[in-house]
């Protein structure tokens, strides 16, 4: 199974280069990158990417800066649709897709997986880690291995927090203040939905320890 939002992102951003450039730059509005860096980080061709970046700059979505003999691009947070577009990217081709894809090999054994913390609440900085909770029959070690490549793609540290269903239920029952905080705040779901998460709290729910 692919990332749940993959089809939505393909539909909304049929032009691969546009989606990739916007996701890279709008989700890290503090970063300025030159064309070759952008091409390398998105796995695209610099020449074609350059044309797309120019289009996006002319539309006001990106800013272009000349630094020495280099042209650097960054997001324009002043654009009226910046907030909405970044939210859309974050939930589609951005970070969530990268993570969901990385966790695909575990999908059969995971009841629910989601991002919490500053990324999910959109209060992240350029150096914020990505905090991920994974509930299911998986090892801490195997998730670290699977998320290693995603860390490189996102250029952020990814910190997995792995629970068995039983462990999650026990810590919820013990009124862990950490989990109460997690439950109260926004999440980006990677595998499963809020519904699966809520069902874990219901009595008699005991599948895949």
């Amino acid at each position: 199974m692919k990332a749940t939002s993959q089809s939505a992102s393909d539909l909304l951003f049929p032009l691969q280069y546009r989606g990739k450039a916007l996701a890279l730059l709008l989700l890290q509005p503090q970063r300025r990158l030159h064309v070759r860096e952008i091409a390398r980080l998105t796995g695209t061709v610099a020449g074609t990417m350059n044309k797309e970046l120019d289009r996006l700059q002319r539309a006001g979505l990106l800013e272009k800066h000349r630094v020495g003999n280099q042209l650097q691009f960054c997001a324009n947070p002043q654009h009226p649709v910046f907030a909405e577009l970044s939210a859309l990217l974050r939930k589609t081709i951005g970070l969530a897709d990268v993570l969901a894809l990385a966790l695909t090999p575990l999908a059969d054994r995971v009841t629910v997986a989601f991002v919490f913390g500053s990324i999910a609440t959109s209060s992240e900085t350029a150096v914020s880690d990505v905090d991920v909770i994974i509930i299911g029959a998986v090892d801490f070690g195997e998730t670290v291995k699977l998320l290693y490549e995603a860390q490189k793609t996102l250029q952020r540290e990814v910190n997995p927090k792995v629970f068995s269903v039983a462990d999650w239920q026990a810590k919820m029952a013990a009124n862990s203040s950490f989990l109460a905080d997690v439950m109260a705040k926004p999440k980006l779901f990677l595998i499963g939905t809020q519904r699966e998460l809520d069902q874990l709290a219901e009595p008699g729910q005991n599948r895949t320890a």
Partner: protein, 149 residues
């Protein structure tokens, strides 16, 4: 072992050269074993057990460096990270395992500084890795030409 990489780290002062001392190596090994025993003690809280298992891993990483004639410069930030990253060169630990060990290091930081909780899965992984690391360093020390044993 790949000593060129370690020499490069010494050049940028992340590592300091230090002569091998059998006495020190044995004391460090005793410390790693003791931490592992404390980690196995189920009456301890999960947080304490995780912390002890992690410390056992880090001590083994320090032993690895010592056996190759180095120690981390504690004046530099990130000396835990350096010692763990060097395991590939000091004790021949494979890269994927080093990534898992580094994941445990990050978990330890989150627990210590952000009040993050320890899950059963994190504790189980830390114990498994600590046991494997102590066993590995015991084997390496047993065959080390400069240690009498």
């Amino acid at each position: 072992m790949n000593s060129i990489n370690l020499l490069n780290l010494a050049k940028i002062e992340l590592l300091d050269p230090v002569p091998l001392s059998e006495d020190l190596a044995l004391r460090m090994l005793a410390s790693a074993r003791q931490r592992l025993r404390d980690a196995e003690f189920i009456q301890n809280s999960d947080e304490t057990r995780f912390d002890c298992a992690y410390t056992a891993i880090r001590t083994v990483a320090d032993i690895g460096l010592h056996l190759t004639g180095f120690r981390t410069s504690t004046s530099k930030p990130g000396h835990h990270q350096t010692a763990i990253a060097c395991l590939a060169h000091t004790l021949g630990v494979d890269e994927t395992t080093v990534r898992v060990l580094d994941g445990l290091r990050k978990q330890r930081n989150l627990t210590d500084y952000d009040g993050d909780l320890i899950t059963d899965a994190a504790l189980r992984e830390c114990l498994r890795q600590a046991r494997a690391m102590v066993t590995r360093v015991e084997a390496v020390m047993g065959e080390h030409p400069d240690l009498k044993n």
